[in-house]
Symmetry: C2
Subunit: 493 residues, 2 copies
């Protein structure tokens, strides 16, 4: 007979005691697979318990996979699947993920791996790093933000714990609508959707239109994530070359006639990577062209706030009477990138459509952070921080331009002075037959920059360096450009 | 001559003063479009300034779109596009969004609107609401969480402001790996990706495989967002009927032979909407079938923590030696939904692929909240909160089952007792020719429930109600079921 002991003093129910003891005996191999257990009647008599107690125990052991139950027969110990501990696992697994994954997602993975290898190769432990466009978040008043977060949680409490409004925390949307007014954009809070950073805004718009055969006109060069993301969404990128004053609008008109893109993606301010800001006339013409063809514009205002050199050209959205501009903004390029709060301002129907996609993809953004950022904005910290960033980067960019002028010879490279932002785009002189390992030479001289290739879909004939000062102070800028000058002297010398 | 005044006392640069005064005159129509401005030389002489100062001012006015500049000619006032204030906007806009949007995103929008109309129709101001599966976040220890958030920000400081690791905050991933060990799952932190809630985990997996013609096997009925999301991703849902012990595995085997799905999506615990938990043998057989065909399983462990009635059947992932189970978990169903932190535990290559997609879609989750939740977990608050939820919901579910037993006649409906979670799935008796407006009758009796239809792809012959107790205390449960009994008495009486 099975030896079990019922402890009447224990708070554990009888059935639970039976389950645990039998489970232990099975796990210790004292009851091997195939072994018969006593019938409920016999075990109940033996333990002096009600039959239903033993039946519950057997039911539980069955649910846990330790016994087989068949009507009219005694329970039998079952061969249970083992736990997959790390030692027991097949190292490679059986799934061929590249066969399960779509062609598009295989391509995205390939791109990711190439980028990782490159950034791995270009280890930036030493030297001055102009390659990174992330903001210097050491400048962010974290203590103020922490107070605001506390204040928001105290004030709104449990309200912040739900999914919240699908479009985002409405006081924050109202703040953003007021703030956009300062950039000439008239929208209501109902025309705003809060996203996880600007990147999600772009992704949502691309997902809204994604369909095989559809094309999107983009600037060339452009933000390096755009082309892989378009392709992942099954959309065809149409490259419109960047001139010194922005996207070539004659080429755009030809492309519209020929390829009928369903969207034009543009960064009118401090374009990434060229740093070009378009003027009012260019913006008006772009808008007119798109109005005429009823093609929406996706306006990426990622550095809208960083117009610190005057020339406050207003966003295209500011003139958008026909509501075809989908404007994306973000807090990442002034506050800190990890805030993951951006927004889309667009036609109400467009916003409603984007919300519906968002509801199926990740539901909503965290209300707690939204409320914290709202408090930060509402208390004037955001505006004050923008002023501080303007002061700092006006000086930093002036230093950058002065030291470039002083150190980099016209025979080596040319560039245009940006009207704000963090970027200077260096066009290097032709290398006439030479093919030096530029990244290696730069590294040897203690300086890093982003190379032009990664921003073009088609290969560019010219060599470019994108220099970002977003994480560098004046001393670092001076030292970095001096190093760059030495590197270029070696290349062209 | 143009009347401008330079204020030598002002801190504003001279060129800026010129810009502002000319801009004002243009905006006030004092300088109409087409009007010629003086040459730089003349205006400079007149104001007693250097020519380059005036030239800068004209450059800026040009960038802002107020003047046209042509070499050798005087600047001319330009007809500038007006700002699109709310009054000036075309109410409807020119874009036909349903033509721009893909077929799939039009469908998602349609679904969203239907759901909104329904939830609008079923206003739940009054009465007891069994329709909502959101957790009762009034139970959440918000003050403890606030302290943890503060502690995390103080401890990690600026580190939390960057994008952080793409897979998520590593201490949190390590905690989740340890916590999963308690559910029998052996994975390392490298096999975990933090997502914006479990929903994003599902979306990422679907996006990884999305390709026309590919199929995914799902339970029927299932979580209402699954079918629209699959279709949005261009994937074909294959319905496998739910039996009282889980997905019908014989039907699954036939479907695999016939339609070769690339993924099987399952909720082994407290399935939404049926509340069914599968037993160990079912889990083993499902895993064996998928191993044999090398088909990954997407295991949705959304209520893994809520096994408060004993019968701790371990997740399928716990036996996954061949690494084909993609396990998704979340904090939303125990802590609060707005936390927007979930995770995926899967094969390393699969995780790397999902991260690559995520990097192009919304980059990463906010480090600040991740660090706050980590602190909350690390200080034992999470485990304590789970114990509290177990105590509360064990009693609440017992009350629910007792009052159902007492109030609902067998002639009206049948149900199974769940082994935990928040759901009871009521199968209503056949209505023999009657077609009463059930939602309306329930509302009239002050009670709301989710109707079965929304969880099936194909129409189900039977009528079901999904009753969720996730937001109700015992008194509310008793009152709600009493109201439901009155409603059903009216229907069947």
């Amino acid at each position: 007979m099975l030896l079990l002991e019922i402890d009447e003093q224990s708070r554990k129910p009888h059935y639970q005691q039976i389950v645990e003891q039998i489970q232990e005996k099975i796990e210790n191999q004292m009851l091997p697979p195939g072994e018969k257990l006593p019938s409920t009647r016999r075990l109940a008599e033996h333990l002096g318990l009600h039959r239903s107690t033993v039946a519950s125990a057997y039911q539980e052991l069955w649910a846990l996979g330790f016994v087989d139950l068949r009507p009219g027969a005694c329970p039998k110990v079952r061969e249970r699947m083992q736990l997959a501990t790390v030692e027991r696992r097949t190292p490679a697994g059986v799934v061929n993920w590249s066969a399960i994954a779509s062609k598009a997602s295989n391509a995205v993975w390939q791109t990711s791996r190439e980028w990782e290898q490159e950034s791995g190769r270009e280890r930036k432990e030493t030297g001055i790093d102009f390659s990174n466009l992330n903001i210097d978040y050491r400048l962010f008043p974290l203590d103020h933000f922490r107070s605001c977060l506390n204040q928001a949680i105290r004030e709104h409490g449990l309200q912040l714990l739900g999914y919240g409004e699908r479009a985002g925390f409405s006081p924050l949307r109202e703040y953003i609508a007021r703030h956009l007014q300062g950039h000439g954009i008239s929208v209501t809070a109902e025309e705003i959707l809060i996203t996880n950073g600007l990147q999600q805004g772009i992704d949502l718009v691309f997902r809204m239109i994604a369909e095989p055969g559809k094309a999107v006109a983009i600037e060339s060069p452009t933000y390096s994530e755009i082309i892989p993301l378009l392709r992942f969404c099954g959309l065809k990128p149409i490259e419109i070359p960047m001139r010194s004053d922005g996207m070539d609008l004659d080429v755009l008109e030809q492309a519209i006639a020929r390829e009928k893109p369903v969207l034009v993606y543009t960064m009118p301010n401090f374009q990434n990577p060229t740093g070009v800001s378009t003027n009012q006339a260019h913006r008006e013409r772009l808008l007119s062209i798109c109005q005429q063809h009823r093609i929406p514009i996706l306006e990426d205002g990622f550095e809208e706030e960083m117009k610190y050199f005057g020339r406050v050209v207003l966003p295209i959205k500011s003139m958008d009477k026909e509501q075809l501009v989908i404007y994306c903004g973000t807090f990442s390029k002034v506050l800190f990138p990890g805030v993951r709060i951006g927004w889309i301002a667009a036609d109400k129907e467009c916003i409603a459509r984007l919300i519906s996609i968002r509801s199926f993809s990740d539901l909503s953004s965290s209300m707690i952070l939204q409320a914290g950022i709202y408090d930060f904005c509402q208390n004037g910290h955001y505006e004050r921080h923008i002023s501080k960033m303007h002061r700092l980067f006006r000086k930093r960019m002036q230093t950058m331009l002065e030291v470039l002028q002083r150190e980099i010879k016209p025979a080596w490279a040319s560039w245009r002075e940006p009207s704000g932002g963090y970027l200077v785009w260096l066009k290097l002189a032709e290398l006439k037959g030479k093919t030096p390992d530029l990244p290696e030479i730069l590294r040897r001289h203690g300086v890093h920059a982003a190379f032009g290739d990664s921003f073009f879909l088609s290969k560019s004939a010219d060599l470019h360096l994108r220099l970002s000062i977003s994480q560098l102070n004046e001393a670092e800028i001076v030292r970095g450009i001096e190093c760059l000058a030495q590197a270029l002297a070696e290349v062209y010398g």
